[in-house]
């Protein structure tokens, strides 16, 4: 009987059961066997493979020093005989997805073993890492774990066995921008006209080449006269008045709001809370200026570095926000700024 495929699984502090945001600073550690979602992979991997080791790291620890964290994690397994690494799935989690991508990339580079992770299409890791590693598209949240595990496991086994992969659609991974030559019956002119006729007739057709939409916005011109400028401050960190009066959602927020400052020179402690579900809010709750730097903005206004600070701050929750929603909200805030004669904004992000 062939030897079992040896799998190492990377997960974050939350999935390892070590705690939530307050444990996001957890340094790299190694555990034996399958942990947390690894246990969901075990029956799907079946008798052919075994999760021999699980690597864990806190999402903040990793995102603060991604190169060092990835290397430290790989150091923990560098001496082990392993066949493939599975990371996540991270779903919509930005930090976790980026960490999974980095670990996969690095383990390929350093140990020469294949790796696979899973993230939702909205996860920034889907843009950044698909060029380097195999990434399986997943749903938005861990509620979709059951759907994510089978394609990830299947891809991991194929990679571990060195089998040739089929198309992204067939083998469930994000297109990597790779092109493989293959022979087809009809030559290009025939295929092009056939596709055009379908398009013109409103029939379903499949493009042969997917043109990526980069959606880059050209940088706005600089402020002409900073000393004369009317500026605003804002955040996606979800700073809201106590009680979250506008009910801005903790994840996948659908709207934004603007709120007055509760103090002249600074935001007053105890008058705001964080509506954002994606970070440990104790630091911002202890001092909201750590999220919306009103005291800093006021200090520079006083020194006349710029002319004046708009009396409200803009706020939304960027946790798990789809690009389309972010774009809409950005447009709406820009419109509100224009109506108030605000020329620039300092926007903080978590």
């Amino acid at each position: 009987m062939a030897e079992k495929i040896r799998v190492v699984h990377y997960i974050n502090q939350f999935f390892a059961g070590s705690g939530s945001e307050e444990q996001a600073g957890l340094p790299p550690e190694r555990r034996d066997g399958a942990v947390g979602p690894g246990k969901a992979f075990v029956p799907v991997l079946g008798g052919d493979a075994e999760i021999v080791t699980t690597l864990v790291c806190g999402d903040d620890y990793f995102s603060d020093q991604p190169d060092e964290a990835a290397d430290a994690l790989i150091d923990l397994i560098a001496a082990d005989p392993l066949d493939v690494l599975i990371a996540g799935p991270a779903f919509n989690s930005g930090r976790y997805g980026m960490a999974c991508g980095k670990v996969c990339q690095r383990v390929q580079e350093r140990l020469g073993i294949p790796a696979v992770t899973g993230v939702s299409p909205e996860n920034p890791a889907a843009d950044v890492y698909t060029a380097y590693i195999y990434v399986v598209p997943t749903g938005d949240t861990a509620a979709k774990m059951r759907d994510a595990v089978p394609p990830m496991a299947a891809l991991a086994l194929k990679l571990a066995r060195g089998e040739e992969l089929a198309t992204p659609d067939a083998d469930n991974y994000f297109p990597r921008g790779r092109r493989r030559n293959k022979f087809v019956e009809d030559f290009a002119a025939v295929r092009a006209v056939t596709m055009l006729l379908k398009k013109v007739r409103g029939e379903v057709f499949e493009t042969e080449l997917r043109i990526p939409s980069l959606d880059r916005v050209p940088p706005a011109p600089k402020l002409q006269e900073l000393e004369n400028a009317r500026l605003a401050v804002g955040t996606e960190g979800g700073t809201v008045p106590m009680g979250n009066p506008d009910h801005i959602e903790a994840v996948r927020a659908t709207h934004w709001a603007q709120y007055p400052f509760t103090g002249e020179a600074a935001l007053q402690v105890g008058t705001y809370e964080s509506a954002h579900g994606g970070y440990d809010s104790r630091y911002a709750n202890a001092d909201p200026n750590r999220m919306v730097p009103v005291d800093g903005m006021r200090a520079l206004e006083k020194k006349q570095v710029y002319r004046e600070l708009y009396e409200n701050f803009f706020s939304t929750v960027g946790c798990g926000m789809p690009i389309a929603t972010g774009t809409e909200i950005g447009h709406a805030i820009a419109q509100a700024m224009k109506e108030e004669g605000i020329e620039g904004i300092v926007l903080t992000a978590t």
Binding site: E21, A24, D60, S63, D64, P66, G94, R95, M98, P124, D127, V128, L214, D215, R216, V217, P218, P219, A220, P221, K222, L223, L226, A229, L231, G237, Y279, D280, S281, R282, Y283, A284, A286, D287, N289, R290, M291, V292, P293, D295, G296, M297, A299, L300, V305, Y306, I323, G326, G344, V346, T348, A349, T350
Partner: protein, 60 residues
């Protein structure tokens, strides 16, 4: 998270604090933390007043 800001296309990016406190530094005492925060804001204002052609990360 500078890498995420870059990947989604933000143009003027100031690399400041950490995720739970982008304009905070709880390792400092309040006076020094505010001093640092003023430097962060100053860098941000500088970025607004700087002409750029492409995505740019400004360090405090």
């Amino acid at each position: 998270m500078t890498s995420v800001a870059l990947s989604v296309g933000a143009n003027r990016i100031v690399k400041a604090g950490r995720i739970p406190h982008p304009t905070g530094d709880p390792t400092k005492d309040p006076e020094h933390e505010l001093q640092w925060r003023e430097k962060v804001v100053e860098t941000a204002l500088g970025a607004l007043a700087t002409s750029i052609d492409e995505q740019t990360v400004f360090e405090v």
